[in-house]
Symmetry: D2
């Protein structure tokens, strides 16, 4: 950490900061410039709270030298993490395709979708049983009934299943039915939930909050990893900006940036981010070209009748064609489908 | 709702949309312009899902005529809501001042702070027992021990106590110690938590998420209100922008805008939003001038030793002086302190 | 246009609005719902100012049915625009690659760069002579001397040249040397400049402002098109968000969205948007996969000595390798390089 | 400046950076931590280009110790700047009230408005003659005719006049009629214009761009100041966020923050930022309470007939009442009206 003192900081203030640092078991290293005094801190391995230093008298700013995440960082773990999930691997040379409806609506709807996405080439089945909806008057999902239908579809197809968990007390229930626990964008900093999915030791897909920085996403991953659960996948699903022709702004530069900062696999969701099915196809192709480790795509056999988010769902035929079109792009970046 | 069909929408597509609307028990009203066909929907009192319409073939956009919140709206409830909390009222002519440390750190620290903020004129004591922190390595609060200390301070001073609840399963515990349940910015769309605090029938202060629109804040309030819990207070605490000289951007225009849209009291938090104690005083004054119903301010007897967010805490003497300076401003806008 | 009256709007207010609309030569069409009166406006072909209506008493909102841009819209001009520039075409089946240094620094630097980018496969040479810099103390470009060097490089290589013009009075000067006038992000809404480049009848590349919506970008293009200058190219170069690991957030979903809304070619700038050379390559590949019509990439023979923005410049060898890697992706989306 | 080398930076890379620094006439000061090498730079008074350092091999980040603006900083000029403008002072103990219509529409309209705002207590008359409009089809202002009308109103009332200048070549013309040159939000980084108004030596009001940070605003002011023109006023007019109930988000925390960073007066525009006349009054009061040095408010005798931005204009009677309501707030913060 580097501490920049205010212009005109007194000798007493500087001595005070130095004393505090040494009290923490660190070394302080003074550098007296013409306009500012700078104090370099040589640490003892434990993180120093930047804010605690910044509130001391005479301090202008403190700059962290190290990133605040450790277990999630590529420095700590240089090799790519590959997450094994009941026969499917995420993060390796082969791309992982997750597909299915936004919400599980019925046995028939899910079974039909599961079969078509599997035939088209998907590896993992998605479907929401507990739906976080911004209005209390919207369809909130089938709950446990939805989980049971997911488990039936898994049994029928052999595909692992991913579904969202929205509260810590639901983790045991969801764990009995699903292979991957999804933490949704709105819950990325629901720390009680992060603890619970960390404890579960199940594969987790953590979606970036729509107002979250990459650093905050990696800190949220750090919560899960700190419980010894190493099967964590990150998911970029669009951030909120002032633009309103698209629902959110898909930040594809997060893909190579996250992969440079971290060893964790990065999945891209082109459906929720754009909110428009016409944009799902080009953005899915772009995501693969940017180096994503997988995609999560909404497919619905009859999007016009979908109970949630049908506007962004692909019909099965378009989904099958999309996967075909991804192949040469995957190859061009050294991956397979 | 008004439905704008695409340029060149076919007669069949238009008929399809009309049929769907009538099937919902609503009336469709066609208006054929030169460039677009517009379908006006005359409702039956139940909300129509905009997205469900937008995914139909030939539809360009659907525009809601009514706001999506009802119980929270001033149209539904024209008079200001006044929330009574064990002897203190929030939302009436008298401003409510909530003050205290970011975190409860010890019995001594809280007792000392409680006394000084009460002497200065505060009405409600704040203090965090469960702290949502972006790093798993930061101090996470004293937990139930913190709640016990809060209850002791309440007993000693008579002041009602506000503290954050971070998970649905903690609501019963927090309710046994605290007078007001705070839902933090990161949990504004933690719907499981909103349900739980709605069920609790306790006064709730709901903080605007740092990426939330006012509409989303009011929809989150609608969740709580829909459980019959009418003691809801809104809190503006800054939104995230690209600006980085301040921690967040305090959106004071939200105060008069929310009060125009809704009957619920609006509290302003000048401490978390700015992240800098020097800005707390001018922004507290500005909040009162903008029409806020109250303030929540961090005060710490020794901010340099605070375990969290000391950089934004006022010392007791400054807090007392601030309250004095608010009096003529409160009077100027027809309020008292 | 559709006008939504406030709840409780009086008969006089409604009559007033209706009268105003008829006075404009349009027809008003009343629809009395239970909660709101809606007035549909059937136009006479001329745009109606939404804000003028919204300020009338009793009006809650006015919703435009048509997009505010016309000449730039695909509805008006369904076929893709192909911009011919001295032997190079932008917007057709073949991708256009623009490359070169951020700033023209010297005859040697530009000549060396021009040759290597041409050999690697670039079609158009970029280089800044007038540099808009946020600090008055930064290098502001070589000015006319830079333009002369660009013209020499064009003569030597045969490549058309693109360079930025930063003020209306410089348009005649820049036009004598350059083939394409670039309007920078900071000048996207410099309307005096838009008029001047419109009048020039030269090809223009218009960069999206870093706070601009797509609608505003298309309205800025409309300014240029309204002068009869049809050779307009749009350029996505990143928007400002709260994320700070990347300089800006490259909005690749703007590529398919803009191409759906408009017939104008869309170029992507992966260099300025990310600010990091390591991200230029994956984002260039992603841009092609998303359907971009071309790329503008910074290349510098010795980035460590560059006078501006070297951090985002590729070395010649990497640039050549990048173009090779784009080929299969271009093919996969039906394009050639 | 402090340079943080990458984890694993080689001795050669470190030596290279050190050599470059010494070549610039600065001293390098090495600090070898366990995880990173840090190089402190002790400067020679001239600014170092951060980006130039960041592009060197082995460098992770460079952190500037000093702010990039100098002439605009309070460190350089500790006392408040008071700008004298033909008998009115901006930045002193007395608040400056600027008022008038968005656009000059006619002699009658401006004369009527000028008289009522002067009677109500305004000191400076505002009115747009050249209007930057996002649509080429919107009213663009009366141009020189509008300037002539402004000059007549000045003659009749004795009030100084402020109006926007939108291109460098218009500066001489506007200067012959107006007392204060306004640089609009969209032109805040139109550097050619900043040079021109700097050269003019006339009082300038510089509006913060809707995507600009405070640092960029102060850098834009630095451009003007660097021409020896010291009569610069800053204006906060709202920034763009995702919120859409208000047109922009008025950032009132910028008022105390800018006044801490800089000696220049800060004016607040509650009209353009909110876009709604109902919000103008509370936000004007809040701005004064936050410490603003003045306000610029739109007033129109007949807002429903205004040719631009009538939705945010106050009627004369409300404006007069607003100024009365500001008096006790001004007093409470040690100012007069």
């Amino acid at each position: 950490m580097i501490i920049i003192m205010r212009h005109g900081a007194t000798t007493a203030q500087i001595a005070n900061v130095t004393a505090r640092i040494e009290q923490m078991g660190c070394q302080a290293h003074l550098s007296q410039g013409e306009e500012r005094t700078i104090i370099g801190v040589i640490g003892n391995g434990r993180p120093i709270d930047r804010e605690q230093i910044e509130r001391m008298s005479g301090v202008e700013r403190a700059v962290s030298v190290l990133r605040p995440f450790k277990l999630a960082s590529r420095e700590f773990h240089p090799m790519d993490t590959v997450v094994p999930i009941n026969g499917v691997s995420v993060g390796g040379q082969k791309l992982a395709i997750m597909a299915g409806p936004c919400s599980v609506e019925s046995h028939e709807q899910l079974m039909e979708t599961a079969q078509v996405v599997q035939e088209a080439g998907a590896h993992i089945l998605r479907g929401g049983a507990f739906k976080p909806r911004s209005s209390p008057y919207s369809f909130q999902g089938l709950g446990e009934e939805g989980l049971r239908i997911l488990a039936e579809a898994r049994k029928a197809t052999g595909m692992p299943v991913i579904t969202e968990v929205i509260a810590p007390e639901l983790v045991p229930l969801v764990t009995t039915y699903a292979d991957i626990l999804q933490v949704g964008a709105r819950n990325m900093q629901n720390f009680a939930l992060l603890h619970a999915v960390g404890e579960s030791q199940r594969p987790v897909m953590l979606k970036r909050g729509m107002m979250a920085t990459m650093e905050e996403l990696l800190m949220a991953a750090e919560y899960i990893l700190s419980h010894g659960n190493q099967r964590v996948m990150l998911c970029e699903r669009g951030i909120r900006t002032f633009e309103n022709y698209t629902r959110n702004t898909l930040d594809l530069s997060a893909v190579p940036m996250l992969k440079q900062l971290s060893h964790l696999p990065v999945i891209v969701d082109p459906s929720h981010s754009t909110g428009k099915w016409e944009l799902v196809e080009p953005m899915a192709r772009a995501a693969v070209a940017a180096g994503a480790d997988g995609l999560i795509i909404e497919v619905h056999p009859h999007p016009e009748e979908a109970l949630s988010d049908g506007a962004q769902s692909l019909k099965p035929a378009r989904f099958a064609a999309l996967l075909q079109s991804l192949k040469p792009i995957a190859e061009a970046v050294g991956r397979t489908l």
